[in-house]
Symmetry: C2
Subunit: 479 residues, 2 copies
């Protein structure tokens, strides 16, 4: 273990004194959320025309918190508040903002104003703002930009959405292999145009292809006369410019990267992705699965209602279709239910427990696939594992449900039927929950999107078939 | 926008040549997963006793990929493979490994070997390995460590699990405010004991409390005679040592941090958290919600089956209990179903669509709560929003289901009943899906864990009550 370095006087020289608390901390609760009282206070100030007082209070916040403030306001309050805040609604604030809320505000601005905002941001943030605009508005903004900035944005927009090319910034530091550490430091000090947010520099060959990466701490700890090529690490993780952002995020996570070089098809360095951009992607992608599994679309609470409605209702209609399969099976056994209506009372248990067992397996499988833990090497083992778990769960639930049913209806035969049906049902649910997403993944479909509907259809229909079928087969009732 | 800096000759001086491909890339597929052929090849080599050849092929991999390799092997193959690989199974590999797989391998080692491994890692990684061990094994390992390392680990273990104190490393760089940039660089060059993975340095007062943070790039770009206090940023985000790791992750994400100072109750700097550790937490926490909502426990495909069984069966039993509520309602309407068995056939549609609508709202609400997007400021607005969406969805589904039912059973009255039931059912699902997690969150309960079971219970029982109740009330059937 390395030692800590603090260059400090020993403890006994230390004198206690009072501590300043960052003022803005009083606006936030212990979870870093804006306090409701603060939000209503500044809104009241703005509505009462006390603009200076509102600006003064909001001005103490970090840009990320000002962005949060806009997200917490209602659709109606946002335009008023934007005009009150004026230049406190800075490019940084817009870059931090939820895309739906940002779109609403951007719509209020002239193309020249949007162009000015975009010019002040790094390429990746500027692209995030511009890529969501309508084609004609986008053109108007691009026309209003300086040629150099416009070229960078247009270049980024030429890559597919959610690709490394959109995520990367074009501001980075690259040096040839032969320069010394001292040369690098001198050039960094001289060039005032340079980006200041970088954590590593890239070493490139004359073709501008990366040959190594050097952390800034290594430069700081190396004597000036050493060649940078002797300090850099040659093994590096390069990101192809057309790589999907989900893969970029997994690569950053797997290799614990802080920044990475982005290369074009010829292997030339064209950009840099830093981990702070990837953190958003990881959060989004990991959260997406839960929303997709439930068919909730984008699932953003700031999304316009019309879009949310359209995403969700499509899924509910699909669900209606698959429920029809289960309904048909029940209808076939209509006579059996008429003769023994207790079967109908037990149907919710069959559907509920089977569905839950399927969802458990499905959630685990979808996560493991998303995190690249499940590959062809271990997928059979995963199916086998789920079968064993399903048998254990099925046995336990069969025992409980069977005994309870036998007692409730004073009918041991019915208890036996539901017990047997539970074992079949949970086993089918377990197999469907792991096999369906694996199968969809192999077809290059997103397993989170479509699996749930097939798994539910399988557990519902197979559950009813097993339960009602066994009831008839055992002679408890007749069709 | 800043300009890119590359210190390179113009394009026309560049000469094309062939490009080396990293050899290890041929072991990985396009998604950075180990190819199944590679996995079976090296396993075959190990089993055939060709240890040197196996080591040679595995040795080309990044530690993170060697860790993946162990995860892809079966429980039975791992010990053999560990003995074949020898010191290729390095501390770094173990630090990257899934905790369940690592536990299996650690169990094979003597306490002295574990102690040696832990000593080579940063505190946070060493703690991750040691914290999961049984108390007596843990003691044996700690006894075998150097006093200084042991003290650091014991200090970390004194903080609650999943807190900043466990996540932080004790290796960082802190300097007093008055030193110059040149002093800092000289000291960094001289001190060979220093950690080399840091991206920012902290500036502290004589009490050792952080007063500012300085990115390494700012140091590199500033003349040597400037005081570090004039380069640093005073606004900084401090992490209390007892903060939960989920909050730490949100703070890193919100303020786009690369590293942050961890402070004790007296405000003194005690450690540093870097973003690469937080990336794992973000991924875990975001993925946890989907697993918790489905009641899949930890949901790790490497978890021992007995633990998985115990986590899941508990949830299925709870589900059995709540399904009983729906069953009871159906049982009450037993007579109505006996008189009109078509009702039983339509029950799966009521349960399926209502359940899905509830899950959609639930998933969106749980995500928004986890990301601090939903606070007291906008929770009523969120409920109101879900009501409007539920009415739109309910109306659409009612139209489709009502028409289809009227045609299927040639019974317009039944169509009307299911249409009305769908509107009620989806509305109740929408309200329950947003209100239940908000309520649990206000009680400081994790909304992801318990919401699902209450929402399903509500949608199932209210759905059947509305459907069967309306059928009786409308005179279609009788009790």
């Amino acid at each position: 273990m390395d030692k800590r370095e603090d260059f400090l006087p020993p403890d006994d020289e230390i004198v206690l004194d009072d501590r300043d608390i960052r003022e803005s901390e009083t606006e936030l609760d212990e979870d870093d959320r804006l306090r409701p009282e603060f939000v209503s206070d500044v809104l009241a100030l703005a509505e009462a025309g006390e603009h200076e007082a509102a600006r003064e209070r909001v001005g103490r916040l970090h840009p990320a918190d000002i962005a949060d403030l806009f997200e917490l306001l209602s659709d109606e309050d946002r335009p008023l508040f934007a005009s009150v805040l004026g230049d406190l609604l800075s490019p940084d604030v817009l870059a931090e903002m939820n895309e739906h809320v940002r779109e609403q505000l951007i719509d209020l601005l002239a193309p020249e104003q949007v162009a000015e905002i975009a010019s002040e941001l790094d390429t990746d943030d500027a692209v995030a703002i511009i890529e969501d605009m309508e084609a004609d508005e986008q053109q108007a903004v691009l026309q209003a930009m300086e040629p150099e900035d416009r070229a960078a944005i247009e270049d980024a927009l030429s890559f597919p959405e959610e690709s490394a090319g959109r995520l990367m910034q074009r501001e980075f530091v690259a040096v040839p292999e032969h320069v010394t550490v001292g040369d690098v430091i001198d050039r960094l000090r001289e060039d005032q145009d340079l980006t200041s947010d970088f954590w590593e520099i890239f070493i490139v060959d004359p073709m501008h292809r990366p040959v190594g990466t050097c952390q800034l701490s290594w430069i700081l700890r190396t004597p000036r006369d050493i060649a940078i090529g002797d300090v850099m690490k040659r093994e590096q993780t390069l990101i192809p410019v057309d790589m999907d952002q989900e893969e970029v995020a997994l690569r950053f996570q797997k290799y614990a990267l802080i920044s990475a070089a982005v290369v074009d098809k010829a292997g030339r360095l064209v950009g840099m992705i830093t981990v702070d951009d990837v953190v958003h992607v990881i959060q989004e992608e990991a959260g997406e699965d839960i929303l997709r599994l439930s068919g909730a679309g984008d699932g953003d609470i700031n999304e316009p209602i019309r879009e949310t409605y359209s995403a969700r209702v499509r899924w509910l209609i699909a669900n209606l279709g698959t429920a029809l399969v289960a309904s048909t099976i029940v209808a076939i056994f209509g006579g059996a239910i008429e003769h023994m209506v207790a079967l109908a009372a037990l149907m919710p248990i069959v559907a509920g427990v089977g569905g839950n067992a399927g969802t458990q397996t499905l959630a685990v499988t979808v996560r493991a696939l998303a995190m690249n833990q499940l590959t062809d090497s271990n997928s059979w083992r995963a199916v086998w594992r789920e079968m064993k778990i399903a048998l254990l769960n099925g046995g336990t639930i069969a025992l409980i449900a069977g005994t309870a049913t036998a007692l409730w209806f004073a009918n041991p035969g019915l208890g036996g039927v539901i017990a047997a049906a539970m074992i079949v049902n949970i086993f089918v649910a377990g197999v469907a929950g792991v096999a369906i997403p694996l199968f969809l993944d192999r077809l290059d479909q997103d397993p989170a999107v479509a699996s749930s509907i097939f798994v539910t259809m399988t557990t519902d229909s197979m559950g009813f078939l097993a339960f009602l079928g066994l009831a008839v087969a055992s002679g408890l009732t007749s069709l």
